[in-house]
Amino acid sequence: MSTNKVIQVDGLTKMFGDFTAVNAITFDVKKGEIFGFLGANGAGKTTAMKMLIGISNPTSGKANVAGFDVFTNAEDIKKNIGYMSQKFALYDDLTVKENITFFGGIYGLSRSKIKEKSNALIEDLGLETVANQLVGSLPLGWKQKISFSVALLHDPKIVFLDEPTGGVDPITRRQFWEMIYKAANQGTTVFVTTHYMDEAEYCDRVSIMVNGKIEALDTPKNLKTQFKAANMNDVFLKLARG
């Protein structure tokens, strides 16, 4: 296996009864790559992502994530990846610091490491004044930035982001993407879903799922050429009307 590929998926399939939610998808993601995982609501993105992060058993096919097999080593996958979703990110009833300490503990970091990481995170995000405030009182954009940093606390090889910027204001959305670029630049692989098609352009490569299948996978530039489209929104509209 090439060590350059941190996600390898081959014919991965998930069925619920006789409904095929994910239909034999095949793709690779390279180390340090920003990989956009797009598709309409209900296309199968979340189901596919759940299999890759080790919380849902595939019906058939193969997948290796961060060097571990999704069938046999799901627990090892969880230790080596970060995950953040729009729906659940942090505990609203804990302060910023408490959240960091909590998740640091979950990821098995030592107390001294947690303290060091916590201070660095608070300084990086300029959160000194709100470090002891409840997360629930912060604006969504801040929460999402903290949540992303928390997902990176244990220096995972890959971070999975499920619609991280939904409803976030345009300036914060861009600051969020600068954090993604920074993480990727430092070698972390970023696997991200979004409904903002301008964000699809920020990815190194993009896949588009339609009815459980990956119908397109390439760089944004090549996809635009292939579908004779001016932008990724047009590519998406041409493809996803399946």
């Binding site: 309409a40 609501n41 954009g141 976030v168 204001d169 300036i171 670029y181 409904h195 990724m232």
Partner: protein
């Protein structure tokens, strides 16, 4: 005027949700309230639909005062909240019958208004609302908001979290409803949807930043806008942010949108600077600012 809002303010304890908000929506207009999560959009919707009382200011909807005539307003408006608020344990058809009955009407009576939308979910009419996909829930909620033939329709972030294809279909539906004479006030965090409205108001931190047609708002942008690209996006953003003359640097799809502080800005100079930062395949081209650029400039 279909909606008039004068000097509305609302606070929750020490949090100011709305601060001296005033604007009007004309009859038959498709008016967009554009702003991020937490800007105060939902609070304003709740005041206009008589679910919340403002601390200061007055407002009318369909000619009725939000305080004195609140019951008349409730009969004249349709409201689709951001959070799915139908009965999860009732089927599609039962939800619709329920809302029609509450408003003293029947599905048959106003069927033409919802027909276009309802036929898309009709094959599933016996399915419980809780078991529907996001797109189907959204269509059902819209049908329920329309069943009593409202004069004014309030839609609070109807497309948040919805994919681009379904968003486009939803906006096509809104345009058709508008043609039937319904006034629509819609909120969204998506700047591309702003272009589809007759007029828009930018809202942030409880304050209205600007109100105008989408075309006019873009024309107000104060500086020439440049599209810049290079071989490495991350280095390009960092280099531009470190450039002493930069006014704004925002990634925009495959480009970075850049404005300069100087009136006599010469792109060649910037090109040399970027080359000195070891960037290659650099291109700098003048472009048109978008609604999103304008919003970010105002919100800075």
């Amino acid at each position: 005027m279909s909606i008039t809002i004068q000097h509305i303010s609302k606070s929750f304890k020490d949090v100011v949700a709305l601060k001296d908000v005033s604007f009007e929506v004309k009859e038959g207009e498709l008016f967009g309230l554009i702003g991020p999560d937490g800007a105060g959009k939902t609070t304003l919707f709740r005041i206009l639909t008589t679910l919340l009382i403002a601390n200061e200011g007055t407002a009318t909807v369909a000619g009725f005062d939000v305080i004195n005539d609140y019951k008349s307003i409730r009969n004249s408006v349709g409201y689709m909240p951001g959070k799915f608020s139908l009965y999860q344990d009732l089927t599609i058809e039962e939800n619709l019958i329920f809302f029609a009955t509450i408003f003293g009407t029947t599905i048959e009576k106003n069927y033409d208004l919802i027909k276009d939308i309802y036929i898309q979910i009709e094959p599933f009419k016996n399915r419980r609302a809780g078991k529907l996909s996001g797109g189907m829930k959204q269509k059902l909620a819209l049908c329920c908001a329309l069943i009593h033939k409202p004069k004014v329709l309030f839609l609070d972030e109807p497309t948040t979290g919805v994919d681009p294809v379904s968003r486009k279909e939803f906006w096509d539906m809104l345009k058709r409803l508008q043609k039937k004479g319904i006034t629509i006030l819609v909120s969204t965090p998506y700047m591309d949807e702003a272009e589809l409205c007759d007029r828009i108001a930018f809202i942030q931190d409880g304050k209205i930043l600007e109100i105008d047609t989408p075309e006019a708002i873009v024309k107000h942008y104060p500086k020439p806008m440049y599209n810049i690209r290079s071989n490495n996006m991350y280095q390009l953003i960092n280099s531009l942010k470190a450039y002493e003359h930069q006014h704004s640097v925002y990634p925009f799809g495959e480009f970075v949108h850049y404005t300069d502080n100087r009136l006599d800005f010469n792109p060649k100079e910037l090109m040399l600077y970027l080359e000195s930062k070891n960037l290659s395949e650099i291109s700098i081209q003048i472009t048109q600012p978008t609604i999103e650029d304008t919003f970010m400039e105002l919100a800075k």
